[in-house]
């Protein structure tokens, strides 16, 4: 299985946290919470779409709301494959971060 890219990872995690209310606008908000800045619509839409096509997500059309002027919302849900990929990447992170200690800069300098 291929390793998820950073935006894909963030989007999957955002959807995970959002639960049932996962569509483009809240996902963008969620990522803002993670990273502190807004991503453009394009930077979210492209990986989102790719994840959907590749089967990490499944999408379904929901109701509209008053702001959208009747246009339906496309909600996303993480599939089993998506969860598997997330756990994979978690393990991957743990593996590559394992034993990582920040060196003590002061000591180095005195030495």
């Amino acid at each position: 299985m291929k390793v998820l890219t950073r935006p894909e990872e963030q989007i999957l995690l955002a959807i995970y946290h959002l639960g049932k209310n996962a569509y483009l606008v809240p996902i963008r908000e969620q990522i803002k919470k993670f990273t502190g800045k807004y991503f453009s619509v394009g930077t979210i839409y492209a990986p989102l779409n790719r994840l959907d096509i590749d089967g990490y997500l499944e999408s379904y059309m929901g109701e509209s709301n008053s702001i959208r002027g009747g246009k339906a919302i496309k909600y996303y849900k993480i599939t089993d494959k998506g969860y598997q990929a997330l756990s994979e990447i978690k393990k991957f992170h743990e593996r590559i971060w394992e034993g990582f200690v920040l060196p003590d800069f002061k000591k180095e300098i005195i030495k």
Partner: protein
């Protein structure tokens, strides 16, 4: 919640609609609405707007690359399908491409010709400001229009009118040139004013354009001339000796020219300085009435205005310089303005529009350009029709594909694009083949158009663009009907197999009319060819009033032969193969004749007639076999004939107002030498009219009289077929009289035929393109016939089983095509009649367009069509019925 104004601006919304992926548009635009709304609420209208526009701009690169990606993918598919189709139906592809390639090649060839014709004299940098001065008017009730002017005209115009920048005089004359081998040659020597290089852009490669023709006795040669006389192109400063009547003149070479471009209305080999003429011609240079000079005027920029102003001043100018002289000749109350006006003809129009009597060289004709362009268009049309017919006829083969494409979401526009693209691709292939074809046949084509055309498509941007334009045009025209037709199929019907192959009424009718149109064009071309051939045959066989066969003509240009003609004649006649020898100033069939004033003795002096004359000797009339209608021919027995005798033709008798030839005999004719001095000759005989000029013209009045000093041609009538031995004899004898003489000769009949060279050229080209047009039509017909008979394979099988004979079947299969061709005849005949009748108006003597022409042409077309169709039919009719019924 939502406030007014919290909506995405319309323009942005529309762009979003365009740019967002179609399937995602609905919810994505909803997302955008929402985001816009939040930003609007939190950060205000301005920021929200900036945000949405930034989003749109950011999405452009993605949109573009996405579109291109899909386009390329589809294009690949289209190309793949197109090539598969071509390969699967090799026969039809061959017919289509071959037809189109031949059509485009014809078109290119003709366009090269037309382009060349239109480019005449446009290579001069200032061509749009150079005008040739022409005289026009009515003289002795005869309208005339001549490009020649008098010597002093140009300088006087320049002197009197400051709005003329330069006036260049060009005076063509013919002289012997002595070359390093000490032989004599005759060349065209053009005397020209020193400012010639300021007006014309002639390719001077050595020498200074300002001073080359300044000094008297300086001359500028072309490289070819220089090589001929000096064996090198480095001949500046050397001396060229020219014989001027009895003297020799030495010219210093002051410049070398490249050959003048072929698209010049005159192609001189050398220019000599005009100042030379001051010495030779002297006072003749101030003669306002002798017209033999071509005057070209250069106007400054924005000349149009200047020229109008100039025209109003011209009558005064003419009066000032010529009034006195003209009045002294023609009486005090003559209207000089009717006698002479000036016409300024733009130099670029000379070649195609000017057909005056004294052009420097024979010019082209704008009608030929039109006729050829029309032929090019028609041939291209025929080729397009082939393509349309075959594609619609075979549409059933593509119907399934169309159905499938429509089912998976192709709309009609896409399909139309696909099919037009396919035909353009095919045309492009054909175009490339056509270019190769053109490259191959160009030498041959050049040989019979007498041009030096080159295939400049890849170097000349203009012709390259027009080539691409033609390809796109042909691709579009031939592709658009099939495209619209094919794309209109309904997928449900098609996939169920409801479209019957090639038999839909609408397209069937169209196909029929297109084939009829094709054959109409072909038949018109065939009729045109036969009429041109008939007319040429008529011209060549028409009784000319003299016998042109078996006469060798020797141009007597060598002045050392002069005054020895009596002994030459008696020497030549000794050979038993020589029947008669005669000398004359001109011969029938030449392009140029000289005019002279003649006057009846018994009428007043204002009735001078300008009449063509030929100086002959006593043997000329019997040698040419010209018949007498009254009086007698010149004879040795009458000593006065040489100085006092004169012979008229019947037209001249009428011109002088005698009712019958007999009435003219013995009457006096005056030949004015100066306004006061006349020479009187008496009419001794009248000859029947004979065609001394081409049959384009009616026979004009002609005067024959003797002048032993004016001999340009020796004619020898032979009574043998051993031409080469007699020619040897003639050469040897003439060398005795003038050792340096270069023997030249031609036959009178071939020289006469040369008058129709331009018609002959048109005939050759016409024939060539007619054959190609028929070939292309037949290719198309063959394709169509193959297709229809193939469709009827089963039917034929059943008919055969039921007892139809072979001839029954063939007739049955080809019946339809025969009616089409017959119908095409009905349309073609009147069209051809009108067009060819118009063409024949060019000739004063013409053959009639007989019904034979039509029937023959119709027959030819029918036979060719039949052979094509029957060949296919026989193949089908021969098939074993068992196989035929199994077919499909």
């Amino acid at each position: 919640m939502s406030k007014p104004g919290a909506k995405i601006p319309k323009m942005a919304n529309w762009l979003l609609h365009r740019f967002l992926p179609r399937e995602d548009y609905l919810y994505l635009s909803g997302d955008f609405d929402e985001l816009y709304h939040y930003i609007y609420d939190s950060e205000g209208c301005f920021k929200a707007r900036i945000w949405i526009w930034a989003q749109i701009f950011k999405s452009i690169p993605g949109f573009v690359s996405g579109t291109i990606y899909w386009r390329v993918t589809m294009l690949k598919n289209y190309l793949k399908i197109a090539f598969r189709n071509m390969l699967r139906h090799k026969g039809y592809t061959f017919i289509n491409i071959a037809g189109l390639a031949i059509g485009i090649a014809c078109c290119i060839l003709i366009m090269l010709y037309v382009q060349d014709e239109l480019s005449y004299d446009k290579y001069h940098e200032k061509y749009d400001r150079i005008y040739r001065l022409e005289r026009k008017g009515i003289f002795q009730n005869q309208p005339y229009h001549s490009p020649t002017t008098a010597h002093p005209m140009g300088p006087a115009l320049k002197n009197d009118f400051p709005e003329i920048q330069y006036a260049v005089r060009i005076w063509p004359s013919q002289h012997m040139v002595r070359n390093w081998k000490n032989d004599f040659f005759e060349e065209k020597i053009f005397f020209a004013d020193e400012n010639i290089f300021k007006v014309f852009t002639f390719p001077l490669i050595k020498g200074s354009p300002d001073t080359a023709l300044k000094e008297p006795n300086s001359i500028v040669l072309t490289e070819r001339m220089s090589k001929k006389y000096f064996n090198s192109t480095e001949s500046i400063g050397r001396i060229l000796t020219i014989k001027w009547e009895e003297e020799t003149l030495d010219f210093k070479i002051s410049g070398i020219l490249k050959e003048l471009p072929n698209n010049s209305h005159f192609k001189s080999e050398c220019f000599a300085s005009y100042s030379t003429l001051n010495k030779i011609l002297g006072s003749q240079l101030n003669n306002w009435l002798s017209n033999s000079v071509y005057t070209y005027l250069l106007f400054p920029k924005n000349h149009q205005h200047q020229q109008d102003k100039l025209e109003s001043k011209i009558p005064l100018f003419i009066d000032k310089h010529m009034g006195k002289t003209i009045r002294s000749f023609l009486g005090p109350d003559v209207d000089i303005n009717t006698i002479m006006r000036f016409v300024f003809r733009p130099i670029s129009e000379i070649h195609l529009y000017s057909h005056l009597a004294f052009e420097i060289e024979p010019n082209g004709n704008i009608n030929t350009v039109y006729i050829f362009s029309a032929i090019a268009f028609l041939i291209l049309l025929i080729a397009c029709i082939n393509f349309m017919n075959l594609s619609t006829a075979r549409s059933a083969n593509r119907a399934k594909e169309v159905g499938l494409r429509k089912t998976v979401g192709a709309n009609r526009t896409l399909l139309i694009k696909q099919f037009i693209g396919e035909s353009t691709l095919l045309t492009l292939i054909a175009g490339i083949i056509a270019l190769l074809l053109v490259e191959c046949v160009l030498p041959v084509y050049n040989a019979f158009t007498l041009k030096e055309l080159s295939n400049n498509f890849l170097t000349n941007p203009l012709s390259f663009i027009s080539f691409i334009a033609v390809i796109l045009f042909v691709g579009f025209v031939s592709g658009c009907y099939p495209a619209f037709f094919l794309s209109s199929f309904q997928p449900v019907k098609v996939l169920r197999g409801a479209v019957k192959k090639g038999t839909e009424n609408r397209s069937h009718f169209l196909r029929k009319s297109l084939v009829v149109l094709q054959f109409t064009i072909s038949i018109v071309l065939i009729i045109g060819t036969t009429v041109i051939m008939n007319q040429l045959k008529f011209l060549k066989n028409k009784k000319l009033g003299f016998k042109k066969e078996q006469i060798v003509v020797i141009p007597a240009r060598d002045s050392s032969l002069l005054n020895k003609y009596d002994s030459i004649k008696s020497e030549l006649i000794k050979n038993t193969a020589v029947l008669k020898v005669a000398t004359s100033s001109n011969i029938p069939g030449n392009r140029h004749f000289h005019d002279q004033g003649f006057l009846r003795e018994d009428v007043n002096k204002n009735r001078i007639k300008d009449i063509t004359f030929i100086n002959i000797d006593t043997d000329f009339i019997p040698l040419m076999g010209i018949e007498l209608s009254a009086g007698r021919s010149f004879s040795m027995d009458f000593a006065t004939d040489e100085k006092r005798g004169l012979i008229l033709n019947e037209s001249a008798v009428k011109e002088f107002d005698w009712e019958r030839p007999e009435m003219a005999i013995g009457k006096g004719i005056l030949i004015p030498q100066t306004p006061e001095k006349f020479i009187k000759r008496r009419v001794v005989g009248v000859v029947k009219d004979f065609h001394f000029k081409s049959l384009h013209q009616k026979i004009e009045p002609l005067v024959l009289y003797m002048d032993p000093g004016n001999v340009n041609f020796i004619s020898v009538k032979l009574k043998t077929n051993e031409i080469s031995s007699i020619l040897n004899f003639l050469e040897k004898k003439l060398k005795v009289f003038s050792p340096a003489y270069t023997f030249e000769y031609f036959f009178l009949d071939t020289n006469f035929d040369k008058l129709y060279r331009s018609e002959e050229r048109i005939q050759t080209i016409f024939k060539f393109f007619t054959i190609l047009a028929i070939l292309i039509s037949c290719l198309g017909l063959f394709g169509l016939a193959s297709f229809t008979t193939e469709q009827r394979t089963k039917e034929v099988g059943i008919r055969k089983v039921l007892g139809a004979t072979f001839s029954n079947l063939t007739l049955n299969l080809s019946k339809e095509f025969i009616t089409w061709v017959l119908f095409a005849n009905v349309i073609a005949w009147p069209v051809a009649y009108i067009v060819m009748n118009k063409w024949l108006q060019n000739f004063a003597y013409r053959t009639s367009i007989g019904i034979g022409n039509f029937i023959l042409s119709g027959f030819i077309a029918l036979v060719i069509a039949l052979v094509t169709v029957i060949y296919r039919s026989i193949k089908t009719a021969n098939v074993n019925p068992v196989d035929a019924i199994k077919y499909e």
